[in-house]
Structure formats: structure tokens, C-alpha cells
């Protein structure tokens, strides 16, 4: 069994309770710095669980992973470049539909996603019934219900994170389809990207999607090769 440190990237929309989850995970063992090259605050912390040391990196709170804001670029680059062992997306269960937009984009990057389904109490008080098992099955990713404000579910979340990092829990993910007109263009782009040096660090399909989104940062990267 590998005793290597596990890297956990913590993602989530603003107001999803991400900071609370971060505090629950790391307690007092945190330090604050800056993301390289920019003056955006970067928080990191540590925790030990089942004999494993887990480094928790708090990503900026974002709604998506486009190149429109610095926060989104930081979050995205970290997932793509640093390839954390697990990405935990804190999702507000009382605002599920909007929050899942980020989760879907993380899954498109083929990252090892675990969904921390937070604020289950608020969702329940509004009469929402969420089929957690079905959600997990259809997204192909583990979903851990929690109430971070009352420190409920933290243990289960860590259990799942360690399971995913050790390969005991599989994240099969989704295969997003963008409609056949877009797919036809994606197929063409994917084919010519495959020979490009960029394809070594990014998946050709993801690059193709980003190119069609006319993503400023990815277009620049392609130009610089």
C-alpha cells in the first residue's frame, strides 16, 4: 500500500459552504499564501486520516471553469496541471441544478471527482427529495451527503476520498454529448490535435471543446506551441 500524500483539491460555487468544509477537514492546520504569479489568496491545510496524510488545497469559489475570470482560470489550471488525486466539489443541495454545472465541467476534465452534497438540511426543510444513489450512479462519481455547518458527513467524505485515491472506488464519470453538429466539429478538431505536443498534457477532446468555446487561454496556449 502506498503511503504517499494524497492531494485533495476543494472546489465549489461561492456560498456552497466550501470554506466550512475546508475548516472541518483541516482544523487549525492551515496556512495562507498566494497562487503563483497573482494576488489571489491560496489556502492550504493538512489532515491525517486512516494513516494517510491529506493535503487539502482550497480552490477559488467559482460557478464554472471558463477563461472569463482569473478565479476560474486558477481553479481550472490547478486541476489540469497539478492533477490532484481527488477533486471534491462542494455542492449546495438546496440549489442542486445550478451547482452541478461546475461538477459537470470537472467531470469533462476526467478528474477524480467526489461530490460533497452539502446543506442537506436546507434542502430537506424546503421539501426537496434528492435520490443520492441515483445521482451518484448517473454522474458516475461518489456523492457524500453532508451538513458541513454541523460537521456532519466529514468522516464519510474522507473515507470516500481515501477510497478514490487508493483506487478502491472508481470514478467512471460521464461522456458529455454536445449534439451532433458540435460533435462533428469536435471530431475534426480532436483528430488534428492528437498530433500536437499539447495533447500530452491535455486530453484532445477537452482541448477541442475549449477551442470551440473559443477559450482565450487555451487558444493562446495552442498559438504558443
Amino acid at each position: 500500500m502506498s503511503k504517499k500524500e494524497i492531494t485533495l483539491a476543494l472546489a465549489g460555487n461561492p456560498n456552497s459552504g466550501k470554506t466550512t468544509v475546508f475548516n472541518n477537514l483541516t482544523g487549525a492546520r492551515q496556512h495562507v499564501g498566494n497562487w503563483p504569479g497573482v494576488t489571489v489568496e491560496k489556502k492550504e491545510g493538512f489532515c491525517n486520516f486512516r494513516g494517510r496524510r491529506i493535503r487539502v488545497v482550497d480552490l477559488p469559489g467559482v460557478y464554472g471553469l471558463t477563461a472569463y475570470s482569473l478565479d476560474e482560470v486558477i481553479a481550472r489550471d490547478y486541476v489540469v496541471d497539478e492533477k490532484p488525486d481527488v477533486v471534491v466539489d462542494v455542492v449546495d443541495a438546496s440549489n442542486l441544478e445550478r451547482n452541478l454545472y461546475l461538477a459537470v465541467q470537472v467531470l469533462e476534465m476526467k478528474a477524480n471527482l467526489v461530490i460533497a452534497l452539502n446543506m442537506m438540511d436546507v434542502a430537506e426543510s424546503r421539501g426537496y427529495q434528492i435520490d443520492v444513489k441515483e445521482l451518484s450512479r448517473l454522474l458516475g462519481t461518489p456523492v457524500v451527503p453532508m451538513v458541513a455547518a454541523r460537521n456532519q458527513g466529514t468522516r464519510e467524505l474522507l473515507e470516500t476520498v481515501v477510497g478514490v485515491a487508493a483506487g478502491n472506488i472508481q470514478v467512471s464519470g460521464i461522456h458529455m454529448q454536445y449534439g451532433h453538429d458540435v460533435e462533428a466539429e469536435l471530431a475534426k478538431l480532436e483528430k488534428i490535435i492528437t498530433g500536437n505536443p499539447l495533447a500530452e498534457s491535455y486530453s484532445p477532446r477537452w482541448l477541442a471543446v475549449k477551442l470551440l468555446e473559443d477559450d482565450r487561454e487555451i487558444v493562446d496556449k495552442v498559438r504558443q506551441v
Binding site: 441544478e97 424546503r126 426537496y128 458529455m176 451532433h180 478538431l189 488534428i192 500536437n196 477551442l211 487558444v219
Partner: protein, 437 residues
Amino acid sequence: MDSVEIIRLKDESLDHLRKVHGDDAETLIADARYGFISGLMKDVLKKPAIEKETATDRIDRLILHRWLGIPIFLAILYGVFQFTFVVSAPLIKWINAGLDWLAGQSSGISPAWLSSLVSDGIIGGVGAVLSFIPIIFLLYIALSILEDTGYLSRAAFVMDRLMHRIGLHGRSFVTLMLGFGCSVPAIMSSRTIENPQDRLVTILVTPLISCGAKLPVYALLAAAFFTAYQGLVVFSMYAMGIILAILLAWLFRKKLVPGESGHFVMELPPYRLPTVVTVLAHMWERGWAFLSRAGTLIFGAVVLIWFLNYFNVLEHMGRAIAPIFAPAGFGQWQSAIALVFGVLAKETVVGAFGTLFAGTETAGGFGSVIAIQLGWTPLVAFAFMTMILLYTPCVAALGTIKKETGSWKWTLFTVAYTLALGWVVATLIYQIGSLFL
């Protein structure tokens, strides 16, 4: 690959998508994600009824209704065929008048064989196919509207429950419905089905769906034999195609490729009002294949048919094959030849009739020439239409099946089972029908 080339291709793709959809690819991609998520929400989230409903919710409550969903789907499909037939009728008349005039002009050409080639072969054959262009383009317009408004995804969602019962997934139904246009892109769209067994079975049954190229054959025969009930007869072909595709899919899934079927989210994109440009662009994309085929493949086939006929070889060939189809009622050599050439492309059947019966004018138009020359009753015509619906897919579809399954075995299996199915169903219709009519 060169970065400059990638950027160039990207800009080209973006221009193309903007032209076709009037929207940036970015919007289309975001819509696909929202569609995925709202489909997911239908499966995992129950909200109390007091929440405010959006317009999409209200329309969905009717269209996705547990019991009304399938009847609504059938009614919409029926509406599509009524629309294509009613609107295309005068257009087809004009084109035919133009073709008659052309044929008249070319009868003066000498030598006589060249005049026959031009007026009987080319104008009679290719012209017969081209005269159905309005009907095909109108069908493609209707299909584009169904797809671009977001209804197609709803129909698949409605069918999802039924599809699970037969061991398939709603996405298979999307493939089948794209088959209304053409089997080739439909079979390719099966790539969205992740489970390999589900995908294989979907590919195998897609050719049973009535494609755009089969429509001219129905239209020709329906006009000749079922004047008052044309729309209904053609609709019955479409319905039979869907029903048999689903039945056979169930059988194949059970007997040939058993195993657990996949579970995915059925995407529910927001309803959209498609723009005229989008719909026309989609119509053109699909219709162009049909037009260019008429100028190449059908042209070649028709010239070959004319040539073999001119030298009296064709009838011998036809008579050798025809007895096979006698139990189904259409044991004439001309229809046997039409079926053989129909494997090149289904609309060649119309071209073959056009060439073979050119010059034998009657008051009732081209359709009634066939009725008189072949001595068919409406029952025989119906059995023949069933054969056209079900028998061996055209070469383009077979090529796609080979490419997508990567297997000659499954390709040949498709050839064999569709031929057998077409023969059996046509024979049953003719034999049982003969008892009552």
C-alpha cells in the same frame, strides 16, 4: 499538427456552427450541459408542487406525460407526414409538367437510341426520382424543426421507459428517429450509446426505420393506389418500421447480445424557437446528399438499366429472380429488377420504374402506369411498400454498419435478416390480405 492549422480549423468550425445555428459554439456547448443537468434533475430531484413553474416545465408536463407522451409523439409524427404530403403535392405536379415538356423536346433527337436513352432512361429515370425532391426537402424541414426545438430529445425521454423494458436506452430511440432522415448519420450517432451491446443492437435495427430515400417509393405507390388515404398509408409504413425495430431490438438484445443495459441521463435541452436559417441549413445539409446521389449513383444505375433493357437482357435477369417474390404478390420481372437496383439506394426503385415504363403514358399519370403494367392491386402495392421498408439496407448504410461495428459478420447478418424479414412480412400481408379482400 501545426498550431496555425488548428486555429484555422477552429475558426472554420466556429463559422460553420454560427451559420448553421445562429449561435456561438460556446452557447451550444453550455446548452448541452444544461440539457444534461435538467435531464438529470428529472431523475434525482423531487420538489414540492408549490415551486414556480417555468414555461418549459409546463410544456414538459404535457409532452412528457406518462400516458399521453406516446400518443402525442404519434400525433406529431402523423402531422409531419400530412404536412409533407399536402404541401409537396402541387410542387411535384409542376416538376412533372416540366419533365414531360423536356421528354417531349428530346423525342426529336436522332438517332433513335439516343432519343430513347435521354427521354426514357435519363428523364424517365432520374426525373422520376427528382420529382420527389419537394417531399424529401419538406420532410427534412419538419425533422429539423423537431430536432432544433428540443422535441426530439423529449420523444426519446418519453420512450426511455419503454426502451428500458426491452433492454435498451432512450438514446437508442434518438438514433432510430434520426433514421427518418438517413440511416448513415443515424448509425453514426449511435456512438453516443456507451454500452457496446446496446450500441450494436441499435445499429442492427436502424435500417428498419423509414428513411428519406424510401419516401419517394411510398409516395409514388400511395398516389397510384391509395388516393384518399395516402397520408395514412405512408404513416403506417413509418409506424411499422418503428414497431418492428423495437420488437427486433428486444429479440436481439435477449438472444444475440444479452447483458445488462447501460443507464444514462436523458438530456432535456431547453425549448428553443429555431431560426429559419438554422432549419434551412439543416434541410440543405441532409437534402444535398439526396440531390448529389440523383446526379451520380442514380444516374449511373438508370443508364445501366436502360442499357440492359435496350438489349433485352434485363427481362431475362428479372424473370430469373421474380418467382422468389411471387408469394408476396409482386412476382413481376420489373419489380424484381427494381428491388435489386434498390440496394444501391432506395430511391433507385422509382428511377427503375421510371425507365422501364417510360413512354407508356396514361391519363392517370406515372403511378397508374405502374398499376396497369404490373397488374397490381392495392394489396400488392402495400406488400411491396413493406418490402421496400424492410429489405436489405442500401450500400451506403451497409458500409456504415461495417465501419461502426468493425465486423463483416454483423454486416452480413444485417443483409440476411432484413431480406428475410421483408420477404416474410410482405408475404404474410399479401397472403392474409388475400383471404379478406
